[in-house]
């Protein structure tokens, strides 16, 4: 079993629903503009904007960027306390109580998916009440990142185990895949031939970010046609 994600850039409209869904689902802290300008923005799912060409022929590419959950994660290699490691289902987990906040993993990650908690997260009273109880709020001084909504796997797995059956594909979907209005984000088991990601990942359009680094990301992008 190897959980992975396919993002079809042809279908992606760059609307940012995945970014918003992720932020709300995972209680990701909202950072003030001043802090954000210092590069402390916290986003587990970011929308990379790439400008190509100049004004009259300007082309904007929008690329949603979650954690790549690499098969050879550079972050896990440098973590001195095994707070981040890859588990047997291919999810690169981040265990907050174990993290000492050294930020080696942030320096090691070529995709810059990790963010550091510089402050105690604060929400306005209205928003605080809508926080997701399934995800813990991270304390100050730890690194956090996309977990492929691992809390949803916990819940789905519990249900499947209670009914003594295997996990179904539609049972465990991260918030971004669930929220995507065009169905550009597909999530599932890359090794299971019945899952959609398995077929899509072998599409001729399939590509991975910074493939030459040898990190073997499990987030596959499908290139846009022209």
């Amino acid at each position: 079993m190897k959980w992975g994600m396919v993002i079809d850039l042809q279908k992606c409209t760059g609307c940012g629903e995945c970014v918003a869904a992720c932020k709300r689902e995972n209680n990701v802290a909202i950072v003030e503009p001043k802090e954000s300008a210092m590069g402390r923005t916290m986003l587990w799912m970011d929308m990379l904007t790439i400008y190509e060409g100049e004004y009259p022929r300007l082309r904007v590419r929008q690329i949603p960027r979650p954690c790549m959950h690499c098969d050879h994660p550079p972050c896990a290699k440098v973590c001195p306390v095994r707070a981040t490691y890859i588990n047997e289902e291919g999810i690169v987990a981040q265990i907050y109580p174990q993290c000492i906040g050294c930020r080696y993993c942030m320096a090691a990650c070529p995709y810059t998916v990790k963010s550091f908690n510089w402050y105690k997260p604060e929400w306005s009273p209205g928003i605080r009440n809508t926080a997701n109880p399934d995800v813990s709020v991270r304390p100050v001084g730890v690194v956090e990142k996309c977990t492929f909504c691992v809390h949803r796997r916990q819940k789905a797995k519990e249900q499947a185990k209670s009914e003594a059956r295997e996990l179904r594909e539609d049972e465990y979907q991260p918030a971004c895949a669930e929220g995507c209005p065009t169905g550009a984000i597909v999530f599932g088991d890359l090794e299971n031939s019945r899952h959609r990601v398995n077929h899509l990942a072998h599409s001729p359009r399939a590509t991975r970010l910074l493939e030459d680094l040898g990190t073997e990301p499990k987030v596959v992008y499908l290139k846009e046609g022209d």
């Binding site: 588990n87 265990i95 907050y96 109580p97 813990s136 691992v150 809390h151 209670s162």
Partner: protein, 170 residues
């Protein structure tokens, strides 16, 4: 002379750190393992003498992550008629009549970054008493296990339960 000072300073430094850690450890475990409850509910009578199963009142233990405390209505099903003249039952009746829930003091709590499911543990064949001790023999419920990670993991190892971090950490 200078050497002794350096050695003393180093020893003092490590000694102070040790004291600090011990102090924190002491404070950590000082939380009351048997808090006084708003109504002196005797598990000895209900679970002990009457041999009521735990899930008779803690209905959600087998069905969900939380075991849950029963609603006052559940108590009143019996106590409308039984032992109505006792002081504690009068307290209970007042709660019922004023529609005020009873604010039980929590005895067991896991931190908010832990995913724990009563259902899974019961389905795996554990008895309530494995973690909660002999509640039927406790006049006031007392915490018998410290719920630290090592305690969880030792049992998970022994019973070949999953040991992957995100099994419990969220």
């Amino acid at each position: 002379m200078r050497r002794t000072i350096v050695i003393l300073a180093a020893l003092g430094y490590f000694g102070a750190s040790l004291l600090l850690v011990a102090g924190f450890g002491y404070l950590w475990h000082r939380t009351d393992p048997a808090p006084e409850q708003p109504i002196a509910f005797p598990h000895t009578v209900h679970a002990g003498n009457l041999r009521m199963p735990c899930t008779f009142c803690h209905v959600f233990a087998e069905l969900s992550r939380h075991a849950g405390a029963p609603p006052v209505q559940k108590c009143m099903d019996c106590h409308r008629a039984i032992a109505t003249d006792r002081e504690e039952i009068r307290k209970l009746t007042r709660h019922y009549e004023e529609k005020r829930p009873i604010e039980w003091k929590r005895v067991y709590a896991v931190p908010d970054f832990i995913y724990f499911s009563h259902k899974r543990h019961l389905r795996a064949g554990l008895e309530c008493s494995t973690c909660h001790g002999d509640v039927a023999g406790m006049k006031r419920v007392r915490r018998v296990s410290n719920l630290v990670m090592g305690w969880c993991v030792s049992c998970h190892r022994a019973r070949k339960a999953p040991l992957d971090c995100p099994t419990c950490h969220k």
